[in-house]
């Protein structure tokens, strides 16, 4: 249960090895979160993440979960909720893909969509239904500024995030008045293992900054959070750039 100051006590991370999610989990454990469930594909990294959080005082369960296998999502998530209330679900899985290679291999591109969008829809709905049944809680969905307007250099990933973002917004409106808060998180370029080796870009941010924005957004019950905040205005401007010009931009 959240307390009067909006501090949650339990957290379910879908995509348990995501750096953004783990940094967020650490920030929340430093406050009142005591029960953390890390759902992800079994790996040494997942176990290490669990140990790290245990070392910070949390009780951690590790659950096998594959974003690319939507048939199992509902059962896995329902079992987590059956063991105790979950105050915050962080939907954090996602793959970046390799635009140039994927463009030549349609099946590989479809896999990016399968994980980011299809997996997001089934896991998001399963989590939302479980939260509605308990009458309280929040679902934070990690989207991306890349979903705001697809760019030629990154449109496969961008389009999956655009779909996930639209899904999460609609879901949030649908759940208004049920006690369930859905928050869309739109980070810009985050320096993590997922983006390792890629050239730095303006307004690049860190997992710590995203974690802080998520914690703050949950407390304030924001519906959309941009990280860094300036992206709200940058993307608002980019959205309205006419297509012939946008096409020529080297972004």
């Amino acid at each position: 249960m959240k307390d009067a100051l909006g501090a949650p006590q339990s957290l379910l991370v879908l995509g348990g090895t995501s750096e953004i999610a783990l940094t967020t989990a650490r920030a929340m454990v430093a406050e009142r979160v005591r029960r953390v469930v890390l759902a992800g594909r079994p790996s040494a990294g997942l176990e290490a993440a669990a140990d790290d959080l245990r070392g910070r005082g949390a009780t951690v369960e590790v659950v096998a979960f594959d974003a690319a296998e939507p048939d199992d999502h509902e059962k896995t998530i329902d079992e987590v909720f059956a063991a105790g209330d979950i105050d915050v679900v962080l939907l954090a899985f996602g793959v970046l893909g390799d635009q140039d290679a994927d463009a030549k291999a349609p099946a590989a591109a479809a896999r990016v969509a399968q994980v980011n969008y299809v997996g997001g829809v089934s896991a998001g709905l399963a989590a939302a239904n479980a939260l509605s049944r308990q009458g309280h809680g929040a679902l934070a969905v990690i989207s991306s500024v890349a979903g705001e307007r697809a760019r030629k250099s990154n449109f496969i990933y961008g389009s999956t995030k655009a779909g996930l973002d639209a899904f999460a917004q609609g879901l949030g409106d649908k759940l208004h008045g049920t006690g369930v808060h859905v928050m869309v998180v739109r980070p810009g370029f985050v320096r993590t293992k997922m983006t390792e080796g890629l050239p730095d870009v303006p307004l690049a941010t860190t997992p710590e900054a995203v974690a802080e924005a998520i914690v703050k957004g949950l407390r304030r019950k924001s519906s959309v959070v941009w990280v860094p905040g300036q992206f709200r205005f940058v993307m608002s401007a980019l959205r309205h750039v006419p297509r012939p010009i946008f096409r020529k931009l080297n972004i």
Binding site: M1, K2, D3, A4, L5, G6, A7, Q9, E31, R32, R34, D85, S132, R133, Q134, G135, H136, G177, T178, G179
Partner: protein, 461 residues
């Protein structure tokens, strides 16, 4: 909509957003408003796996009368007086009867409720569940000291009449048990005889906390009702300055001739209702500092034998309906703790910490408790209790409260569950040494955890 006690009309559940008086941490639950015992039993039988909790008038500050995703029974429909014995001052009534109603009905017959908190808008069921206390705690104890019998509906659907003699374990688990042992259907209360409906009040203003504590220690024996309002924003030599009010119900002879004609006259009613439009940052350090200064100066330095109405002396806040709206939509929380006698340093340190932080609490109240009762989770124990309320948007509040938690814990203090909305669950067992006995009784009468609230989930009660 009919609220009549017809057994045929089955009340339907509505999914409703519920929060406590502090207006924080809302959750959604299916609310049912039964009007008969049979309907309560039916609603209990129709529960889901998310369980059931009773709710009265919603005056608990946090989340004990909420049950996210489950059933909440609005007990205010059980509002009948079942038996009255004016010879012995015994009243048996249903759980949803408010103290307001008891006062209104029985003051004209010369009886007052044995214990009343700062508002009379609480139900008898709620008063038992929280084992509420009032200005007379040092003399008369808390509410359940004056309850001779409780009719309890248990998780398995059976009704049991519980008295301190017949089943002390269950009685004292229920007294202060936050509704987690069963549903209180009705109770018998020993009322307090009074000659008049007016309190004779002595007021003293003290320059600081030390002076207030000395005066309170001295005056407690002489009065049945005592309480001090404390200015938590005062600093330096004025740290913890208080307005101490002490009183007794006036005897007939104390009244002027004119009032003697109708000595038990009682009028209820309110002056105004706060609209739900107050900006969130209105109660701040500046406005509350000003309010506290005025409130302090308004009080006489020393005054004896002033006659005050029940409302003015016991329930001044009841004059303002929906006063919690003053804190805006972000809400507020109450922080009430007790530290034992001999730990005065802890109290002083807490007041210093709050003053240094400049956290704006307007309704800060200091009171001395007498002996506690046998209630496993009953809050009062001998010592000093301080009550504060803070808007939740006070900058740095979480940090300040953690500092205060530490002071309370190291001084063997504890928090009041009816006010709690944010305590660390890890602190609970240290504060309530009889928690395990409470859990044992609960495991016996409700092995499946049918009775559960948001607070019970939050604290792992």
């Amino acid at each position: 909509m009919s609220d009549g006690p017809s057994a045929d009309v089955r009340p339907t559940a509505r999914r409703v957003r519920l929060n406590g008086w502090g207006r924080t941490a809302p959750t959604f639950a299916d609310v049912v408003r039964p009007t008969t015992r049979e309907q309560v039993a039916t609603a209990l039988g129709q529960r889901t796996s998310r369980g059931v909790i009773a709710r009265g008038l919603g005056r608990s500050y946090g989340d004990p009368a909420q049950n996210g995703g489950g059933t909440v029974l609005d007990m205010t429909g059980l509002d009948r007086i079942l038996a009255v014995d004016l010879e012995r001052g015994l009243v048996t009534c249903e759980a949803g009867v408010s103290l307001d109603r008891l006062i209104e009905l029985f003051v004209p017959f010369g009886f007052f409720v044995p214990v009343t908190p700062g508002t009379r808008q609480v139900t008898v069921g709620g008063a038992i569940g929280a084992d509420v206390h009032g200005k007379n705690h040092h003399a008369d104890g808390s509410f359940c000291n004056h309850v001779s019998s409780i009719d309890l509906l248990l998780a398995d659907g059976t009704e049991r009449t519980v008295t301190p003699e017949s089943d002390p374990e269950l009685f004292w688990a229920t007294a202060g048990g936050m509704g987690l042992t069963g549903l209180v259907l009705s109770a018998t209360i020993r009322m307090t005889p009074i000659e008049t409906s007016l309190a004779s009040v002595d007021t003293d203003r003290t320059r600081n906390l030390d002076e207030a504590m000395a005066l309170m220690a001295e005056t407690d024996e002489k009065y049945t009702y005592t309480v001090a309002w404390l200015d938590c924003l005062a600093k330096g030599a004025n740290l913890g300055r208080c307005v101490l009010t002490c009183g007794e119900f006036a005897a007939l002879d104390d009244l002027p001739a004119k009032k003697r004609r109708d000595p038990l006259r009682f009028r209820t009613g309110s002056l105004l209702t706060v609209p739900d439009l107050v900006p969130g940052r209105l109660p701040n350090k500046l406005t509350m500092g000003l309010f506290n200064e005025l409130w302090y100066r308004k009080a006489p330095k020393h005054k004896v034998g002033q006659l005050q109405s029940i409302t003015a002396f016991f329930h001044p806040l009841d004059l303002v309906q929906e006063w919690n709206r003053v804190y805006g939509r972000t809400g507020f929380l109450q922080y009430q703790f007790v530290v034992p006698f001999g730990r005065e340093d802890g109290l002083v340190k807490a007041v210093e910490t709050i003053s240094r932080h400049g956290a704006p609490s307007s309704l800060t109240v200091l009171k001395r408790f007498g002996p506690g009762n046998a209630g496993f989770l009953s809050f009062p124990k001998p010592g000093w209790t301080l009550t504060l309320d803070f808007p939740t948007n006070t900058p740095g509040l979480a940090r300040l409260l953690r500092e205060l938690d530490e002071i309370v814990l190291t001084n063997e203090g504890r928090f009041y569950l009816a006010k709690d909305s944010r305590m660390d669950p890890a602190d609970l067992a240290r504060m309530y040494p009889r928690l395990e006995r409470f859990r044992e009784v609960r495991a016996k009468v409700d092995p499946d955890g049918v009775f559960v609230s948001d607070q019970a989930r939050r604290l792992g009660l």
